[in-house]
Symmetry: C2
DNA sequence: AAATGACATGTCTGATTCAACATGTCAAGG
DNA sequence: CCTTGACATGTTGAATCAGACATGTCATTT
């Protein structure tokens, strides 16, 4: 069901084609919130249209079809946003690997953690840059879009991950050092 | 594929039955890393056994079958841990809802964020408590298990979420106040 | 002796999802 | 004119997954 709401959410912002939506998934949702391929997006758009939640508002070059959300679609989306399910579906390969870290020896654990520290730093820098750029563009005093809130969440999450990875690496070193100093244990 | 490694990872720690594994999923993995039901776990255990990555080491009361990881299973798990895929699959209904926050008006956004702030605080308290309990049990100077690292990651993640939700609520208030003070805008 | 509830393992149907296959358009460069 | 690459939309078959159904055990309480 979530894919359907992800699409409605993206279309609530502005009309878009299947291709546009696929790119939006790749740029924004894919890495943080919801993964989907175009082979899933096109059929779902069809179902959404059949259910009257979106409609085709233009057909352009190369068979391009632009979809817009309908009033009914907006109502449906809002109702989903305000009435969350009890239990959220979470599937996060990255975090799963963190959980399974305890199956490795210290050397292997370090080998897993080092790239985590590096990549989170890189991701963080990218996010920060695009946020700064957006803030520089908006005139001061301008009402901030709610989208800014999510960007901040992403920023903080990656900062947390980065700090944690460094802390974890340090921790492993400490434990090893303590063990070396007390070989009897 | 991830379910298979999640199961191998849990079995790497200690042998367990399908029922045990289902409960472990519910307690630990389900909310943070990987969601799976028993109707998926039982068949996957069968496949794992057929592939020689786990084996039945005991059959107990009520048809209970205890599985243990094999050497081959450990090798397979380690190789997956050390050779991560390029792109991680992420499906996170909760974060998806955050992304779609921008489709709501400020009043609705607040209604979504308030429970987030509350629940993250509750989750945080629970985690902190169980961590403190674990630390009190372990004699001082004891080598800390790598599992401690993940607990810390969970703790930090919920702290980040909580802080962010409060920040976001505050931000929305500020923007509204600014708008009220400047009704012409 | 019966009822209840936690324990325990499975199957089945339909929905979701993935990877691969398939087709074609249009613009720019050689 | 031909090639390349970005644009654009789909289908198909296999695998994965969810929710409901199904079955039975064992310990405790009534």
């Amino acid at each position: 069901m979530s894919l359907r709401y992800a699409l409605l959410g993206l279309l609530a912002d502005e009309p878009a084609s299947g291709y546009d939506l696929t790119r939006k998934f790749e740029r924004a949702l894919q890495r943080y919130a919801w993964h989907a391929q175009h082979s899933q997006i096109y059929p779902e758009l069809g179902k959404l249209a059949a259910d009257g939640l979106v409609e085709v508002i233009a057909e352009g070059a190369r068979g391009r079809r632009t979809y817009a959300i309908t009033e009914q679609g907006r109502t449906e989306l809002r109702s989903w946003m305000l009435n969350p399910p009890d239990v959220f579906v979470v599937r996060h390969e990255f975090v799963l690997r963190l959980f399974l870290l305890s199956t490795l020896d210290p050397e292997d654990a370090r080998a897993v953690l080092r790239p985590v520290a590096q990549e989170s730093a890189r991701e963080l820098a990218t996010l920060r840059e695009s946020l700064d750029r957006a803030e520089a563009t908006a005139p001061p005093g301008t009402e901030l879009a709610l989208g800014r809130l999510v960007a901040e969440y992403g920023l903080r999450s990656f900062q947390t991950m980065h700090d944690w990875a460094l802390w974890a690496l340090d921790r492993i070193d400490q434990v090893e050092a303590a063990k070396a100093a007390r070989p009897a244990g």
